[in-house]
C-alpha cells in the first residue's frame, strides 16, 4: 500500500510526483548500496619487493643499472649490456682495433640465446625412430669418452671453421690422445682468393683492401657491404663525404650481376653476369697491361700471353657489355695509379672462374701499384683456410664406406646445407654412433643418436683469434639457461678423460672449486667456474707471461675489461715478396679459367644478408628484418631480372621451378631491379625444416643446388632452366612501391658531386611550406635533434635491430607483415631514383618501369618518427596521449592512449605503430585462441619463455590497443638527465655523446648523429646547418627535428 493507493481509495487522482515513504526507503536503500559500492576504497595489489639474499660485492652500484661485458660472437668483439644478470643488448665494442665489424646476426644474437626452441638438455635421439628421451650429462660424458678411446682414428669431429686458439688446443690434445680426426668446413666457404694468392705469392694470407685510402674502388662482384662482419663499412663510409679537401670523395664502380647491397651503394654500376666477371676483369687487365703497357707486368711475357685472349672487344661481346664502357673504366683506373683499388671476393668468386676472378683483381692491383701505395694491408691480412668442402666430401665417402665409428658434430648442419652430391644423411646412417653438439634438434641432430646441446656463446667461456694480431676472451654474460655445456668445456672434459695433462689440471681445478665450502648461512654456492675457464686461464697465463705481463690475475681482468689483447709476440707477417710482389709466372695459367662460355641462364646462390648460413633460422628479428635490396621478410625469392620477369609474364610471388640438373627447387619469383638479364639468384639460409616453431618452413632451401666440383662448392654461374610452376606464394614485403620521382615527391635529398660542387644545397629542393598556424615552440635549453647522413648510410639495417632490442619491439611474423602491420620503429626505405625525364613521370612513387629498374640508382633512407615541431599527430589525439615536450620530443604516453589511431592516420611519414595484437602476454581464454589463430601465432613469436628475458626494463612493454613510435630513446635521455643531476651538473645543455640512441649506437658508419642542437658546438647542430641538410615535407609545414643530409653520388670519372 502506498500513498497513491490511499488516494485512489479516497477517489482522488494519483499524485504522479509523490514519493511515498516506502518508495523513499526503497530508493535510499538502493542509493546507500550504490554509494557503498562506489566509494569502497580498493586496497592496492600487494607487490613484493625482493632484495638479494646476499648481494655480490661488485654489484653495490649495479642495482637497477646496466653492466657491460666484452665478449666475442662469431669472430667479432662485442660489448654486451646486461641488466640483473641477463644480456639485453649487443653493441659494437668501442676502441676495437681488430678491424672486424658486426652484422645483423651479431646484434640479434640475443634472440638466439633466448630461443625457446633450443634443446633444454641432453637427449637420446635414436635417429628419429620414435620419441626422444631425456638423457643426462652424467651418462653422456663418460660414454662418449670411452667411445672416442675405442674408436681411435675412426672417430671424427666435424665443426665449422675454428678461430679459437683454446678450442684448437683442446681438439689437438684430444687428437693426440685418442686419434680423433678433425674436419672443419663451412657451407659458405669461399677460397678463391686463397687459391689465387697461393698461386701468385706462395701463401694464402690475403691482404686486406684499405678502402679508406683509395680514391677509386672498382668492385668485381665485391660484396664488402653485404658482409659487414668483415669490417669494411666504416672505411667505405669514411671516403663518402663530399667537399673535403684532404680526402676528397672517393668513387666506387661496381661490376656485378645481381644488385647487391654493395652495388646499391656504388656511384656507377655495370651489369656483368657472375660467370663473365673474371673475363671482364681480365679484359680490364688486358687494356692496362697489354694495350697501354702500364705497370710492372707489362714486361712479363707470361702475363701478356695469359691475358691475350681477353681483349676488351672479345670479352665485351661474350659478356654482353658495352666495350666502350669497359675502355672508359680502364681509363679511369689508369688515371689514378697508386690511388685505385680493385676488390673482388663476393659470391661471384664461388663460381668455377672464381680463382681467375681473384687473380684478375690481383693483376690489376699490381699493375696500378696498389701494393706499393699501401692500399693493400698485408699485416691485417687473414690466413684463408680452404679445403673444407673437399674434406667434407672425403669424410662422407669414408662414412658411407663404414670407415667412421664415431661422428661428433659441433656447430654444423650438413644434412641441411651440404651439397646434395655429398649425400651426407645417407653417409651418416652408416656411422655407428653419431653425437650432435648443436643447440637444438635440427635437421642433422634428428638423425643423430644423442643430442648433447652446447651452450650459446653468451653462456660459455672460450677465446677467439682476431685479425691484426689481436686475441679476445669470450666470456659468458649469463649462466646457462638450460642444461647445456660450453663447447670448450666438453672438449676439455673429454681431453681430460683421455689423459691430457692440461685438461686434467683444468678438470681437477673445477672439481676442487665445487668442493669449496661457502661461508655459513650464505646462499647456495655460486656455480664454480667451468672447466673451460680453468683451461683458458692456464693457457692465457702462459700467453700473458710470455708477453712479460705481471700477475695473471690482474692481466686477465685487464683483457676482459679491454675486450681484446694485442699479441705482441705474434710475428709481423711481412715478406719482401708480398710488398714488392712479383707474381709467380705460373700463376697466370689460372686465367684460362676465366674464359667461360656462359649458359643461357645462370644461378647465383648468395648468403641471406640476415640469416647467412641459416643457423639462426628461428630468430624472429632476423627473419623480420627486410632485406636491404629486395625488401623481403620471412622468406626469400628467386630474383629475376625485370625484363625477363616481364617476358615470362610473371607477377611477384609466382612460383618458378629452378632446375640446376643435379637438383631443383620451386621458389616464388621476384622482380629484382638491376639484375643481369641472364642471371637469377636465390638466397641461402632459408628453408629450414627443423629449427623451431618460428623459422621452420620459411622460404626455400637452396643449398642442394650448390654444385660440388673439384673439392669446391660452386655457388654461382650454375646453369639452370626456369619453368613456371603455377601457383603464387605472396611475398611478405617490408615496403611498398619502389621507384621515386623526386621532382614530384621530394622525399629523399640526392644529387651528384658535380651538382654539389656548383651548389652545396643541390638535391635539397622541395616545395616550400607557408606560414604556420601554430606558434613555434621555444627552446631556451636543451633541444634534441638528429641528423642522418645519407652518404654514410649504406642500408644495412643494424639500426633496426638495435632499436628492436632496446625498445622491446615485438615480432609480428609473416602474417603480420602480409597484413602490412610491421612494428619496427625505424625502417630503411629503399627507392630507385627516377632520372629526370622530359615531360616528367606520370606519378611520384610506383613500381618500376624498365628504364629505371634495369640499372637503378638506389637511395636508402632510414625513416623514423621525425619528432615534428608541428606534429600532425599531436593535434588530433582526443586523449592528449601525444604532445610535445620541453626539450623537443614528440612524446607518446602509453597509459593515456586509448587506441583511436587518429595519430597514425595523420602522420605523413607513417612511422607510428599500433599494437593491433597482444604481443606481451599469453591469451588465457582458450575460446579466444580458437576464435583467432593469429593470437597463438603472435604468442609463439614473442611470449614463450625465456624470450621475455630479452626485454629492457627501462622501456615499457606495450599491450594491445596502444600506439607506439620512436621516442628518441627517451629512456636514455632520462638516464642522462638523472646522471647529470646526480653528478651535480646543470641540465641546460648536453654535450655530444651524452645521449646515444640505440640506432646511433648500432650504426657502424656514424650515419646517425643525435644530440642537443642548442648546445654550442654540438655535432648535430653543425650537421643540421649543413647546406646538404633537408628537413622533409616542408610543404606540409610539419618541421621535423631530423635533418637528412643529401646523398651525393660521385659522377666525376
Amino acid at each position: 500500500m502506498n500513498s497513491n493507493d490511499t488516494r485512489a481509495m479516497a477517489g482522488q487522482e494519483p499524485d504522479a510526483s509523490a514519493l511515498d515513504r516506502r518508495d523513499f526507503l526503497r530508493l535510499s536503500g538502493v542509493l546507500a548500496a550504490a554509494g557503498a559500492l562506489g566509494s569502497a576504497a580498493c586496497s592496492p595489489p600487494q607487490e613484493a619487493t625482493i632484495p638479494f639474499h646476499d648481494m655480490p660485492e661488485n654489484l653495490v652500484d649495479g642495482m637497477g643499472r646496466a653492466q657491460f661485458f666484452h665478449t666475442v660472437i662469431d669472430g667479432s668483439p662485442v660489448l654486451v649490456r646486461t641488466r640483473e644478470g641477463r644480456p639485453i643488448l649487443v653493441t659494437p665494442s668501442p676502441n676495437d682495433a681488430s678491424g672486424r665489424g658486426l652484422s645483423a646476426r651479431h646484434h640479434a644474437a640475443l634472440m638466439d640465446l633466448y630461443d625457446p626452441d633450443r634443446a633444454r638438455g641432453p637427449l637420446s635421439v635414436r635417429r628419429s625412430q620414435g620419441a626422444t628421451v631425456a638423457s643426462s650429462w652424467a651418462a653422456i660424458l663418460p660414454d662418449v669418452a670411452s667411445r672416442l678411446k675405442a674408436a681411435g682414428t675412426k672417430a671424427v669431429l666435424l665443426t665449422g671453421p675454428v678461430a679459437s686458439p683454446a678450442i684448437e688446443a683442446a681438439i689437438a690434445a684430444l687428437s693426440a690422445r685418442t686419434g680423433l680426426r678433425h674436419v672443419a668446413w663451412s657451407p659458405l666457404e669461399n677460397d678463391a682468393a686463397g687459391t689465387a694468392w697461393t698461386q701468385a705469392f706462395g701463401h694464402a694470407r690475403v691482404a686486406r683492401p684499405r678502402l679508406a685510402e683509395a680514391d677509386l674502388v672498382v668492385g668485381l662482384g665485391a660484396e664488402f657491404l653485404d658482409r659487414p662482419e668483415e669490417g669494411f663499412e666504416r672505411d667505405f663510409a669514411a671516403r663518402r663525404a663530399p667537399g673535403q679537401t684532404e680526402r676528397p670523395m672517393a668513387r666506387f664502380v661496381q661490376l656485378e650481376g645481381r644488385l647487391t647491397l654493395t652495388g646499391a651503394n656504388a656511384d656507377k654500376r655495370i651489369r656483368v653476369r657472375d660467370s663473365q666477371l673474371a673475363a671482364v676483369g681480365a679484359a680490364l687487365a688486358h687494356e692496362l697491361v697489354v694495350v697501354r703497357k702500364l705497370g710492372p707486368l707489362a714486361s712479363v711475357a707470361e702475363a701478356s700471353t695469359a691475358l691475350a685472349p681477353f681483349a676488351v672487344d672479345t670479352v665485351a661481346k661474350q659478356a654482353g657489355v658495352d666495350a666502350a664502357v669497359l675502355r672508359t673504366l680502364a681509363g679511369e683506373l689508369a688515371a689514378k695509379p697508386g690511388k685505385a683499388l680493385v676488390v673482388a671476393g663476393g659470391t661471384a668468386a664461388t663460381g668455377a672462374s672464381g680463382a681467375a676472378l681473384e687473380l684478375a683483381a690481383l693483376i690489376l692491383n699490381v699493375t696500378l701499384g696498389a701494393f706499393d701505395a699501401g692500399l693493400l694491408d698485408e699485416a691485417a691480412g687473414v690466413e684463408t683456410k680452404a679445403g673444407g668442402a673437399a674434406a667434407l666430401s672425403a669424410l662422407a665417402g669414408e662414412m658411407a664406406g663404414g670407415g667412421v665409428d664415431v661422428l661428433v658434430l659441433a656447430g654444423v648442419n650438413p644434412v641441411y646445407d651440404a651439397p646434395g652430391a655429398i649425400k651426407f644423411s645417407d653417409a651418416m646412417a652408416k656411422v655407428r654412433f653419431v653425437l650432435s653438439l648443436n643447440d637444438r634438434l635440427d635437421e642433422t641432430s634428428l638423425l643423430a643418436d644423442v643430442l648433447a646441446p652446447a651452450s650459446h656463446p653468451f653462456e660459455s667461456w672460450s677465446d677467439a683469434a682476431l685479425p691484426n694480431g689481436l686475441v679476445a676472451i669470450q666470456q659468458p654474460v649469463i649462466q646457462p639457461l638450460f642444461d647445456t655445456r660450453g663447447l670448450l668445456d666438453l672438449l676439455v672434459e673429454w681431453a681430460a678423460a683421455a689423459g691430457d695433462p692440461a685438461a686434467l689440471a683444468a678438470a681437477g681445478a673445477a672439481a676442487a672449486a665445487l668442493k669449496v665450502v661457502p661461508p655459513t648461512g650464505a646462499a647456495t654456492p655460486a656455480p664454480s667456474p667451468s672447466v673451460a675457464w680453468h683451461y683458458l686461464r692456464a693457457a692465457w697465463a702462459v700467453r700473458l707471461a710470455s708477453a712479460g705481463t705481471p700477475a695473471v690475475e690482474t692481466a686477465w681482468n685487464d683483457v676482459l675489461r679491454a675486450g681484446t689483447w694485442k699479441d705482441g709476440a705474434a710475428k709481423e707477417h711481412r715478406s719482401e715478396q708480398a710488398f714488392r710482389p712479383a707474381l709467380q709466372p705460373t700463376a697466370f695459367s689460372l686465367l684460362s679459367a676465366a674464359d667461360v662460355k656462359p649458359a643461357e641462364i645462370e644461378l647465383q646462390l648468395y648468403p641471406h644478408l640476415a640469416l647467412a648460413d641459416g643457423r639462426s633460422g628461428n630468430n624472429g628479428w632476423l627473419q623480420e628484418l627486410p632485406d636491404p635490396v629486395t625488401r623481403l621478410t620471412w622468406g626469400g625469392a628467386l630474383s629475376i631480372a625485370p625484363r625477363r620477369f616481364d617476358e615470362m609474364k610473371l607477377a611477384n610471388g609466382d612460383l618458378v621451378e629452378v632446375d640446376a640438373g643435379h637438383a631443383k627447387v620451386i621458389a616464388p619469383a621476384y622482380r629484382h631491379a638491376g639484375m643481369h638479364h641472364d642471371q637469377v639468384a636465390l638466397p641461402l639460409g632459408l628453408g629450414r625444416a627443423a629449427c623451431g616453431v618460428i623459422g621452420s618452413g620459411i622460404g626455400v632451401n637452396a643449398f642442394p643446388l650448390g654444385q660440388l666440383s673439384n673439392g669446391r662448392i660452386l655457388a654461382s654461374g650454375l646453369a639452370v632452366k626456369l619453368r613456371k610452376a603455377g601457383g603464387n606464394e605472396t611475398l611478405a614485403f617490408g615496403q611498398g612501391a619502389e621507384v621515386l620521382d623526386r621532382e614530384q615527391r621530394a622525399l629523399v635529398p640526392a644529387t651528384t658531386l658535380t651538382a654539389y660542387e656548383k651548389d652545396h644545397k643541390s638535391g635539397t629542393e622541395q616545395p616550400e611550406g607557408g606560414p604556420s598556424a601554430w606558434p613555434a615552440h621555444e627552446y631556451s635549453k636543451v633541444r634534441w635533434a638528429m641528423a642522418i647522413d645519407l652518404n654514410k648510410c649504406n642500408g644495412c639495417g643494424k639500426c633496426v635491430i638495435g632499436c628492436q632490442a632496446e625498445n622491446n619491439i615485438p615480432v609480428v611474423g609473416r602474417h603480420g607483415m602480409l597484413n602490412g602491420r610491421p612494428m619496427s620503429w625505424i625502417r630503411i626505405d629503399r627507392y630507385y631514383d627516377a632520372p629526370a625525364r622530359e615531360g616528367g613521370w606520370d606519378i611520384g612513387v610506383w613500381d618500376g618501369p624498365l628504364e629505371v629498374v634495369e640499372e637503378p640508382a638506389t637511395l636508402f633512407q632510414p625513416m623514423l618518427c621525425q619528432h615534428c615541431e608541428n606534429a600532425p599527430c599531436e593535434t588530433v589525439c582526443p586523449f592528449v596521449a601525444t604532445m610535445h615536450s620541453e626539450d623537443g620530443l614528440n612524446q607518446q604516453v602509453y597509459n593515456r592512449c586509448v587506441g583511436t589511431r587518429y595519430c597514425a592516420n595523420n602522420c605523413p611519414f607513417k612511422v607510428r605503430r599500433y599494437n593491433f595484437w597482444e604481443y606481451s602476454k599469453e591469451q588465457e581464454s582458450a575460446f579466444m585462441r580458437w576464435l583467432e589463430p593469429r593470437i597463438a601465432k603472435n604468442a609463439a613469436l614473442n611470449v614463450r619463455a625465456p624470450m621475455q628475458m630479452k626485454n629492457n626494463p627501462e622501456v615499457t612493454v606495450r599491450s594491445r590497443g596502444v600506439m607506439e613510435k620512436c621516442s628518441f630513446c627517451i629512456q636514455r635521455i632520462r638516464a642522462a638527465r638523472s646522471d647529470a643531476t646526480r653528478d651535480g651538473k646543470g641540465k641546460d645543455h648536453f654535450e655530444d655523446g651524452a645521449v646515444v640512441p640505440a640506432c646511433m649506437e648500432a650504426c657502424p658508419t656514424g650515419a646517425i648523429t643525435f644530440g642537443d642542437v642548442n648546445a654550442p658546438g654540438s655535432k648535430v647542430a653543425a650537421l643540421s646547418a649543413d647546406p646538404r641538410a633537408m628537413r622533409l615535407l616542408d610543404a606540409l609545414g610539419v618541421k621535423p627535428s631530423i635533418s637528412y643530409l643529401a646523398k651525393v653520388r660521385n659522377d666525376k670519372a
Binding site: 518508495d23 559500492l37 586496497s43 592496492p44 625482493i50 597509459n895 593515456r896 627517451i970 632520462r974
Partner: protein, 207 residues
C-alpha cells in the same frame, strides 16, 4: 512503485551510483595510510629512531629507543640510481649474526638467512608500473646555487633527511606506512611549484 513504470527512479539510481562512485573514487586514496604487514616485523623505530636512554632495574643505562642508523646504511641506492633498494639479508646479518638472537623476529630473520631464501618484503610505496620514478633525480636535485631543491628541514625547522619529504618520519614508525597521497596530483603539487623548476612533461615519468 505502484505498477507504473517510473524510469525516473531507475535513472536516479543509476545517477546516484555514478556520482557516489566517482566522488568516492576521486576522494579516496589507495595509498595514504597503507600499512601492510611485513614477513618480518622490522621496526624502523629501533633501527633508525633516536636513542632514548633509561636506567634499568640494575642501574645500567640502556637505550630503549633507536640506534639512529642513517637511511642510507641500508637503502644504498637512492642517491645513485632510479630505484631505492631494500637491503639484502646480508646487510641485516652484518649485526644480527651475533646481536639480538634471543628476539623472535631476529630468529625469524636468521631462519631466512640459513635457508638461503631472500625475504619477501611487501612493497609499501608502490607506484603503478607505468610510472618510472627516479630517486636519484629527486634526492640529488639542486638549484642554480647548488642548494638541494627538496627541503632538509621539517615544518618545525628541525633538520631532517631528504627522504622524509615524501616518506615521512620513518624512524618513528613501528610498521612503515604511507604518509602521503603518492598519486599524480601530489607529485604535480611539487612539480608545478615555480621555484622547483621541475619538468611537467609526461615523459618525465611516463615513458
Amino acid at each position: 512503485m505502484s505498477g507504473r513504470k517510473r524510469p525516473v527512479y531507475l535513472l536516479a539510481a543509476l545517477g546516484a551510483v555514478v556520482v557516489t562512485g566517482s566522488l568516492g573514487y576521486a576522494l579516496s586514496n589507495v595509498r595514504k595510510g597503507y600499512e601492510p604487514r611485513q614477513p618480518i616485523l622490522f621496526r624502523h623505530t629501533r633501527m633508525a629512531g633516536a636513542p632514548v636512554w633509561q636506567t634499568n632495574a640494575k642501574g645500567e643505562k640502556v637505550n630503549v629507543g633507536g640506534f639512529g642508523i642513517p637511511c642510507v646504511y641500508c637503502h644504498t641506492m637512492p642517491y645513485k640510481g632510479r630505484h631505492s633498494t631494500v637491503p639484502s639479508t646480508a646487510v641485516c646479518m652484518n649485526c644480527h649474526t651475533s646481536v639480538g638472537l634471543n628476539k623472535e623476529w631476529v630468529l625469524k630473520l636468521k631462519e631466512y638467512w640459513d635457508r638461503g631464501e631472500p625475504i619477501p618484503w611487501v612493497k609499501v610505496h608502490d607506484l603503478p608500473d607505468f610510472v618510472y620514478y627516479d630517486h636519484a633525480a629527486h634526492v640529488n636535485a639542486k638549484d642554480e646555487q647548488g642548494r638541494p631543491k627538496l627541503p632538509l628541514t621539517d615544518a618545525n625547522g628541525k633538520p631532517m633527511v631528504v627522504c622524509q619529504n615524501c616518506h615521512g618520519k620513518v624512524e618513528e614508525m613501528e610498521i612503515v606506512s604511507v604518509q602521503n597521497a603518492f598519486n599524480m596530483q601530489w607529485c604535480l603539487d611539487c612539480h608545478r611549484k615555480p621555484e622547483m623548476k621541475a619538468s611537467t612533461d609526461c615523459v618525465t615519468c611516463h615513458r
